[in-house]
């Protein structure tokens, strides 16, 4: 029992990391329907910016995170402008390819500039404390990522549902020409979307750095993939869905490793994912709006 609870704690904190990355992913994804394969790599860039602002500028973790978010917001806007905007009226799959291109570019530019070796996140940035609660080992960083994931989810959900910018984003996502006719600037809205999404990625990157202690130029690939899976599992473009999707994957992996066979972790959790989709073809939170004919 105790072990089960410990496993659930493990799963939630792993899930929180996935959720954090998936939030920004699903947001961009929901608005411009772009599978942004570069999202994980923006996260990586964020982690490195955080790293350098701590090691070179000597900032504390909070400032480092803000700097990383700002830099990545700008990066996201630039990426959108250069690589995605020219393709806005083309097929989605065309921008998928530029996204793969951007992803490779970020990875290998970083390797070119910094080398492929991992960098160690200074442990002065965040003092890890372990709490022993009824025999469970809970770390302050677990609490930190969990709270951040849920908090950011709420903020994001609020922005999208209730603010003007958020509504503009949704309008653009549905029909950008009609959105223009409402007086919405599509370019600005999409830029904002990328800025927010990329800033979230950066926040996630810094947290991953804090959490696992080391960062490297290819660190974005697998979490990026998992975040994509989480976003789809939760229902494309649905903010709470992405969070829940992240948690589901975190828990699944944990439970498979903990009670099944860790050798088959990815196979089993992917298998369950497929089963979920077969039962609910539009993801956990996706409404089957079914095209009206």
């Amino acid at each position: 029992m105790q072990e089960l609870i410990q496993q659930l704690v493990n799963g939630l904190s792993l899930g929180a990391i996935y959720a954090l990355i998936a939030l920004g992913y699903t947001m961009v994804y929901g608005i411009i329907k772009l599978i942004n394969f570069a999202h994980g790599d923006v996260m990586m860039v964020g982690a490195f910016v955080g790293f350098f602002s701590i090691t070179l500028l000597g900032t504390n973790i909070a400032v480092a995170m803000l700097i990383a978010m700002a830099v990545c917001a700008l990066l996201g806007v630039i990426i959108e402008k250069v690589a995605y905007r020219p393709l806005r009226n083309s097929t989605r799959i065309a921008s998928l390819i530029t996204a793969i291109g951007v992803s490779l570019l970020l990875e290998y530019l970083t390797i070119f500039l910094l080398g492929p070796n991992q960098k160690i996140f200074p442990d002065t940035a965040f003092t890890v404390k372990a709490y022993d609660i009824a025999g469970l080992s809970i770390l302050n960083k677990d609490v930190f990522v969990f709270v951040s994931a849920v908090g950011l989810m709420l903020v994001l959900q609020y922005i999208i549902k209730y603010t003007k910018t958020g509504k503009a984003m949704r309008a653009v996502s549905l029909d950008n020409e009609a959105a223009i006719l409402m007086g919405i600037s599509v370019d600005k809205t999409i830029s904002t979307t990328f800025a927010i999404g990329s800033a979230l990625a950066a926040a996630a990157g810094v947290m991953v750095g804090v959490y696992y202690g080391a960062i490297n130029p290819l660190m974005g690939i697998i979490p990026g993939l998992k975040a994509f899976v989480a976003a789809v599992l939760g229902g494309i473009g649905i903010i709470p869905g992405a969070m829940v999707g992240g948690f589901v994957i975190g828990l699944l992996e944990t439970l498979v490793s903990g009670y099944g066979n860790s050798l088959y972790r990815d196979a089993v959790s992917f298998g369950v994912l497929i089963l979920i989709l077969l039962v609910k073809p539009t993801g956990l939170f996706g409404k089957d709006t079914g095209e009206k004919v």
Partner: protein, 371 residues
């Protein structure tokens, strides 16, 4: 900081000896290849500065095999066209396998810095040694057996769990041999778990392992994953000794896992980067000066690959691939920084193994085992 730009290759001078570097600079194991290349390039630079080999300069030709066996094959074929005398790399056994047929066909020696699978140098089916394939690293059986012996004899543990990198054949091979020897010695394997490259979260499995209550955990894998793994194990209150192979060898172990967590962990290696042997100290210094970073095991092995090739060229007294292969097969007591080695009939280096223990963040030699 920026690493030394190694893409500027000196133009092949008239009397230069071309050496191919077929390494992973992109793809999944880019960091292994890059580090090995850095080590190899340092060696070449030093050799050239000291007047070269046989009166000629070494001219490195670096190519990226993208961590793929097919690309490794293509790169080898391209290098063959450049008239190389030998090829250093690739790093993983699989990529070496891709390159093997080309090297064999063209009779050019391949020196693998870190390919540990038995069948790299020996044909599985015929049992014949591959004439042109050599390596400077340990093979899986050696290290797996070594750690099993150490665990059973020195640590006197009776039960163990293996938790290794299942995406790498290196770790898989080690796990198999560890298991074999450990059971032969009367120990019991309570479970076999796995992670994959680039995993960073190991708590689920660790919690499970904690539940199994082994006296020892064997973690064959590379430091990128092992360091956070050990940190998390200790966070979970797992205090038993943990052991592993030379893939652990990196200064990052201490920076990531922290000194305290690493206490009571051991790994097999051919050398210790904190060895006081002047040769090793000089290498570490030179490497740090050139690249502004600490060398890891791959860098050391890359360095030794070049040095053993140089030795072979000197022995052969000709910059001729076939003669070089003959000389390499005969090498005895070559003093590499990863140990003294003698190439055996299977083209594996026979060198002493050491068990290194982390003590308060310092690598200390626990015991030296001569095979």
């Amino acid at each position: 900081g920026r690493e030394a730009p190694t893409n500027q290759q000196p133009a092949p001078t008239a009397g230069a000896i071309n050496v191919g570097l077929n390494v992973e600079l992109s793809g999944g194991v880019a960091s292994y290849g890059t580090n090995a290349r850095d080590g190899a390039m340092l060696a070449i630079e030093q050799v050239n500065a000291a007047g070269g080999v046989l009166g000629q300069q070494l001219n490195p030709i670096v190519r990226d095999c993208k961590s793929l066996p097919d690309e490794a094959m293509s790169v080898s074929a391209a290098l063959v066209d450049e008239n190389i005398v030998a090829q250093i790399g690739p790093l993983t056994s699989g990529n070496v396998a891709g390159s093997t047929p080309i090297m064999m066909e063209n009779k050019i020696p391949l020196i693998a810095p870190a390919a540990t699978a038995t069948n790299v140098t020996v044909d599985d089916k015929t049992g014949a040694t591959r004439d042109y394939i050599f390596r400077v690293c340990f093979i899986d059986p050696f290290q797996g057996t070594l750690m099993a012996q150490f665990a059973a004899d020195n640590l006197k543990v009776k039960t163990a769990v293996i938790y290794g990198d299942t995406s790498s054949d290196y770790a898989k091979g080690l796990a198999d041999y560890f298991k074999q020897t450990f059971t032969e010695k009367g120990g019991k394997i309570l479970g076999t778990e796995g992670f994959v490259k680039d995993d960073r979260d190991f708590r689920a499995t660790l919690t499970k392992i904690k539940g199994l209550g082994p006296e020892f955990i064997y973690v064959p894998g590379y430091y990128q994953e092992v360091a956070p793994l050990i940190a998390q194990a200790r966070e979970q209150g797992i205090t038993v000794p943990i052991g592993g192979p030379d893939g652990w060898d990196s200064p990052d172990m201490v920076t990531v896992a922290k000194a305290e967590a690493l206490n009571n962990t051991y790994f097999t290696n051919h050398y210790s980067s904190q060895d006081t042997d002047p040769k090793v100290v000089a290498f570490v210094e030179a490497f740090k000066t050139k690249y502004n970073k600490e060398p890891d095991g791959f860098a050391a092995l890359g360095y030794d690959s070049v040095q053993i090739m140089v030795q072979g060229l000197n022995d052969a007294q000709a910059a001729d691939p076939v003669k070089l292969a003959g000389a390499l097969a005969q090498i005895k007591n070559f003093e590499g920084i990863t140990g003294n080695m003698t190439i055996d009939t299977n083209h594996n280096p026979v060198k002493a193994g050491v068990i290194i223990e982390f003590k308060d963040g310092k690598q200390t030699m626990n015991s030296r085992i001569q095979p």
